[in-house]
């Protein structure tokens, strides 16, 4: 556990930032939380709306059990308690894109209770962030204000889509921790298949609660920054908010408890509404929906559906493959990276500590570098996991040298060809024939009689020079092990 502090030095002394996150994650589900309408992103406005989602008279909500299952899965992922009884409440407020005049949510009795998530920081320390709860709720529609000079348009496609609100305790103490938390959570949700984690499309967005306090003192008044929709914006918003609050506090002012919006174009937060104007949501249990009651069998059935989670995977990579904690972490944190690694693993001819380590190095090294260069995600990699595994197989068998492999990889990246084709086409197969190598070595030694003398009189360093010369003549195709062996014999004689 990390005990180091992240105090911020102000003019009047040190400050500690206290952060809690409320993350809204759109549940991966074909249908909405209380209707059968589709949830596909990007449909024409108001084409994915049932009369239920549009709040028409006499329409009644019906719980989508798949969404319930998704919330339970996520609860397990958060090491959390699953509540066998939870209750849907109405959160009442008026807005044009809220058709029913209330949002169905879970107020006092959420489906998932206390849990935690462990985040790893850059210095390798692990910190536990406690989760307060996870509850189910429906999303509102979308108001579009820029299509007409004095009218707003309403798109209800999003209305009624299932969300999980995941609330953390105020355990986060820095921008780095906040970002590590959201990344870890995003990775987890994607692993579980309960949310696609797409922050750009709004599938994952966070309300960030930020306050400052003097170390050791009680929590200060917090401001809530609404709907932050990228990891980078989260960093900017918190950084700005820390400066803003510090300036107020250091000048003897007080922080208003208010809701603020992050303006990404200016990198600042600004006030949206203060406590006085805060809504009175008049929560009460939704009489249209009976309490959600889960049986032990149902909960256990869902637990059995869980895939191996990132932390467990990382531990297994370290234990079974002897990967370093760092490598194992990198390879296990994102679903697509894991998938690439594990697919490649299946195509290794001989999967052992050495070949797996080599594979890990190639993914984290060459592959990541190439992806970065072309700004590609790993799922769009130009070298497939099978191809990369084949390349590793050639290296492992000694068909090609590591140096040649890098050239072949470049070729694979550019052409999308399998390594065997490239090797055959260019005649890049490693030469391991002792006779052939001996001929080259003899030639080099003849041409460099003086260096041979120097070596034999004790200048050992020259061995590398001879290897280099041989490799040069053999255009890098010589098997280095054989070269070393033969060269040593020849120089001795």
């Amino acid at each position: 556990m990390s005990e180091k502090n992240n105090y911020i030095q102000g003019k009047t002394g040190p400050w500690e930032v206290v952060i809690g996150l409320e993350v809204h994650a759109q549940i991966t589900s074909k249908a909405k939380l209380f209707s059968g309408a589709s949830t596909v992103f990007g449909g024409d406005p108001n084409t994915q709306v049932s009369f239920i989602d549009a709040g028409f008279p006499g329409m009644l909500p019906l719980i989508n059990n798949f969404c319930v299952e998704q919330a339970i899965k996520t609860g397990f992922g958060l090491n959390a308690q699953i509540n066998k009884i939870s209750i849907f409440d109405r959160k009442n407020y008026f807005y044009a894109d809220l058709p029913q005049g209330y949002q169905i949510s879970q107020h006092l009795y959420p489906i998932v209770g206390k849990g935690y998530l462990e985040i790893e920081l850059e210095d390798g320390t692990v910190k536990r962030i406690n989760i307060t709860r996870l509850h189910l709720e429906q999303d509102a529609g979308k108001s579009i204000h820029d299509q007409h000079p004095n009218k707003s348009y309403i798109d209800l496609n999003r209305s009624g889509i299932a969300l999980m609100e995941i609330v953390s305790e105020p355990d986060i103490r820095s921008v780095e921790e906040a970002q590590a938390y959201i990344k870890k959570l995003r990775g987890l949700l994607r692993y579980l298949g309960t949310c696609d984690g797409n922050m750009e499309q709004g599938s994952l967005r966070a309300d960030v609660n930020v306050s400052l306090r003097r170390p050791g003192e009680d929590y200060g008044t917090r401001a809530e920054i609404k709907n932050v929709n990228s990891v980078r914006f989260m960093g900017q918003a918190i950084t700005y908010e820390i400066q803003r609050q510090m300036e107020i506090l250091e000048n003897g002012g007080q922080i208003d408890q208010e809701t603020r919006l992050f303006d990404a174009s200016k990198g600042i937060t600004r006030s949206m509404r203060n406590k006085e104007n805060a809504h009175d949501y008049r929560y009460f249990p939704d009489p249209d929906l009976p309490p959600l009651v889960l049986s032990d069998e149902e909960i256990e059935r869902i637990r059995a559906l869980l895939p191996e989670l990132p932390d467990a995977k990382k531990a297994r990579f370290i234990r079974d493959y002897q990967l370093s904690a760092y490598d194992a972490g990198v390879l296990s944190s994102e679903l697509e990276t894991v998938s690439y690694f594990e697919t490649a693993l299946k195509h290794l001819k001989e999967a052992n500590e050495k070949s797996i380590k080599q594979l890990a190095n190639w993914i984290i090294g060459e592959l990541f570098a190439a992806l970065n260069r072309d700004s590609l995600l790993i799922e769009a990699s130009k070298v497939s996991p099978q191809s990369l595994a084949e390349l590793i197989n050639f290296i492992y068998e000694g068909t090609i040298s590591g140096r040649l492999a890098k050239d072949i990889f470049t070729e694979m990246w550019e052409t999308g060809e399998h390594p065997d084709k490239i090797i055959n086409a260019k005649g890049l197969v490693q030469v391991s024939d002792e006779g052939e190598i001996a001929t080259v070595i003899e030639k080099i030694l003849n041409e460099n009689q003086d260096k041979v003398m120097e070596y034999q009189s004790g200048k050992d360093k020259l061995f590398g020079f001879f290897v280099g010369q041989v490799m040069k003549v053999m255009q890098g195709k010589g098997n280095p092990t054989i070269i070393n062996k033969v060269l040593l014999e020849k120089l001795k004689s």
Binding site: F51, A54, G55, F56, P57, G58, M59, L60, P61, L62, I63, R90, N92, F94, Y95, A96, P99, Q100, G101, Y102, S152, I154, D280, R282, Y283, F284, P287, D288, L289, P290
Partner: protein
Amino acid sequence: MTKLTELTLCEARDGLVNKQFSAQELTQAHIEKIEETRALNAYITETPDIALKMAQASDEKLAKKEELRPLEGLPIGIKDLFCTKDIRTTAASKILDDYKPQYESTVTQNLWDAGAVLLGKLNLDEFAMGSSNLTSAYGPVISPWKIEGNDRQFVPGGSSGGSVAAVAAGSALATTGTDTGGSIRQPAAFAGIVGLKPTYGRCSRYGIVAFASSLDQAGPLTKDVRDAALMLKIMASHDPKDATSATIPVPDFEKLLSGNISKLKIGIPKEYRVEGLNPEIDALWAQGIEWLKSAGAEIQEISLPHTKYALPTYYILAPAEASSNLARYDGVRFGLRVPGQTLDELYELTRAEGFGKEVKRRIMIGTYVLSAGYYDAYYLKAQKIRRLIQQDFEEAFKKVDVILTPTTPTAAFAIGEEPKDPVTMYMNDVLTVPANLAGIPGLSVPASFTKEGLPLGLQILGPAFEEGRILNVGYVLEQAAQFKEKALKLRTST
């Protein structure tokens, strides 16, 4: 032969099967009756063309002697709170304006599937909020009942005022109603007909404009108990589109009308001798006890100790739910829109113009009792009392099989003579709301008259899903009371 509009639903059914008349003749007679009694203002929307078309289809089926559906060719009216596809549905509110739903309520769909014929949509208190039918945006309904030598017009009760007036006037064989705090039973008592509020969950709420979701329940209004049994059998169903719909099988209620109630234990709750109970009603109650006793039932005084809290509890919970249920009438997607400069102004103007006074009052009360700082004192406390009222009934039904009470504390009042303060008006519901709070079924059977000649009803309450039992007790009361015969005498003497 009896006039077609004077037949009961079951009599008309038998007449159709025996080819005494056609569905079109039967329907035409009712259409004419609607025209004749238009002054009662029972219908908001008349659908004669649809009715005749449906009747024609029924006649074709009747001619083919195919397997006949239970309500084949029988013309009925629908309270205008049930959504009917492509047919204007108003909830008697201006805010729904010319709203035509694109969907059909489950209850009405069940009726059409059974072969019933739609005569039109019936007037009611706006959003079913009222006990007089005076709050309708389409004007009050006038009761067909009059006092001899007196021009005063009486209220039919509410909120299902149009539904009871149509049945009493013979402009529908039967009608549907909804009952949130007595809206079926109270007007049934005022209009001298039978009204049944089933167990909560018995009839689907899908497609019924919501007033208070945890209390709303649809039920039939009919000329006699047998008709109510027939109607409920069709209206009730398990509906996967309503999460609160019951999965308990629906029995053939008509078959349960044995008329035998010997050894049945009848509970008489002492707390129902409420203040303001009309002495004539008290006398009727005593008479009802005697009737049941002579039919072999055992009478037992019982206590429902939390009865006095039922009315205030109801008038916290029902408005609370209503305030939220009616938030969707905002001028944005359907119904009335009064444009404004801002979104808030659009809301304010639309709702100010669209809702009537009583609806506004209840939205205000409901909003208040759910507000931060008041929630615990009002809503939460009311929920706890509701649980106690439910327990009262659970305890009572361990000792007795049904409970007998009057339906209303008074008879119908004349239009213009209604209580001017809402609380006195709400007193009308004092004997009916406990059943809604407990979710149990209640039946009102017309049993007697005031000395002026206005109908009075008795109420039978039963345990959840025991509609068959209360219908059978109602059947016995009906035979003992001879209400119809007395009414006929009363009418012919005037």
